[in-house]
Structure formats: structure tokens, C-alpha cells
Symmetry: C2
Subunit: 121 residues, 2 copies
Amino acid sequence: MKNDKINFSEKFKKFMDLWNPKVIAEMNDYQFKLAKVKGEFIWHSHEDTDEVFIVLKGELTIQLREGEVHLKKGEMYVVPKGTEHKPYAKKKCHIMLVESKGAINTGSIKVGLTAPNDIWI
Amino acid sequence: MKNDKINFSEKFKKFMDLWNPKVIAEMNDYQFKLAKVKGEFIWHSHEDTDEVFIVLKGELTIQLREGEVHLKKGEMYVVPKGTEHKPYAKKKCHIMLVESKGAINTGSIKVGLTAPNDIWI
């Protein structure tokens, strides 16, 4: 088989670190990534790509300059390219991100939270 | 807010037809689609795009010329572009598809199962 199937729960067992997205699949020049998140991330934006957030477990808030989006398991949101956003999770939350290959988790800002951007699990 | 959040369960309540993907979101030039499926689809391929299948409820089998992939809720598979495949679900199954905008559900084959390709719910 050219590709393997991907089981989200099994992939989540393979890492513990927070705010550090791991690639699980590629579709053309896009990547699907899983991340565990808790607490506050930083304000940032992605100038070159929309970014999809899908909540697989728990709850996630995405702060935007114009308001907030509250996501529960089974919900998704598309942050338009160039839109400043700040994810936040009160409790640990499992999310899937979909974005173009090469997208950096902190966007154009390089800080301690900036994660390596092509780590596969 | 530029976009609305999307709740998969609520979207699935909005249609009953089978093998007729409905667009729920766009990310750049890609679309996220939901579909209810049951029974056999046809052999087809997409020459211009990989296609992501994510099972949200039930079980889906994707037949490939080289074997089969069995997906349960919480599992995904990427069918590489140009790869013949035939989805099958013994019981009704809810899936999410991710593929480039304009992709036709039956690929290059036009048959009765060919669905309109840009219906939003």
C-alpha cells in the first residue's frame, strides 16, 4: 500500500509535549498535523495560508482581534490567511491542524514557542 | 467574524442523500466536504489531487488495486493522486473528504453517481 492509514488516538500516544504540532499526513503540498495544547499560545498570523483547526478532544478557544471562537470536539474553524489569532485551552486539548507545508506554528514571529515544522510521527 | 465555526454533527443533520459530498469549508483552494455513504461506490481516480478520507462515524473500506484499507471512526487515509480506488461501506458511514476545489466525486468518470461538486451546507 502506498500509504498507511492513520489512527488519531494511536498517534496522540506518541508524544506528550504541548504546542508542538506533529505531521501525520501530506495531501499534495498540504500537511495534517496533530497537537496537544494547554494554556495560552501567542498572537500570530500566517501570511501565506489559511489554517484549519479541528478539535478532536477537549475544548479550544481561538481569540481573534474581532472576537473569540469556542470549539468543542467535533468542531472546526478556518483562520483566514493574514488573520491574527491566539489559541487558548483551559484544559488539555487535542487538535488537528491543516495548512500548507512549511507553515510555522508561530507564523512570522520567532520565539521560544516556535516549533520545528516538519516533525513526523 | 470572517468565518463561522463548523459543527460536524449539525451539518450532518442537514442532508440525507448518499454519496453526495457537501462542502462545509474552504482552506485556500481546497475544500472540506461531508458525505453520508452506504454500499458500493465505483472505481475511479483523481488525476490532479490527493484525496483525504476521514471517518467521523461508522466504518469505511477503501478498495485499491493493491489491497484494501479499513477505516473506523477517528481514522484517515490519503489516496494518492491518480490512484484508482473504490469506497465501500456495509452500514451507513459519515465521512469527511479533503481535496482540491473542483474535484469531482467520480473523478474522470461521469455516471449517475457523479455529484454536483460545489454544494455548500
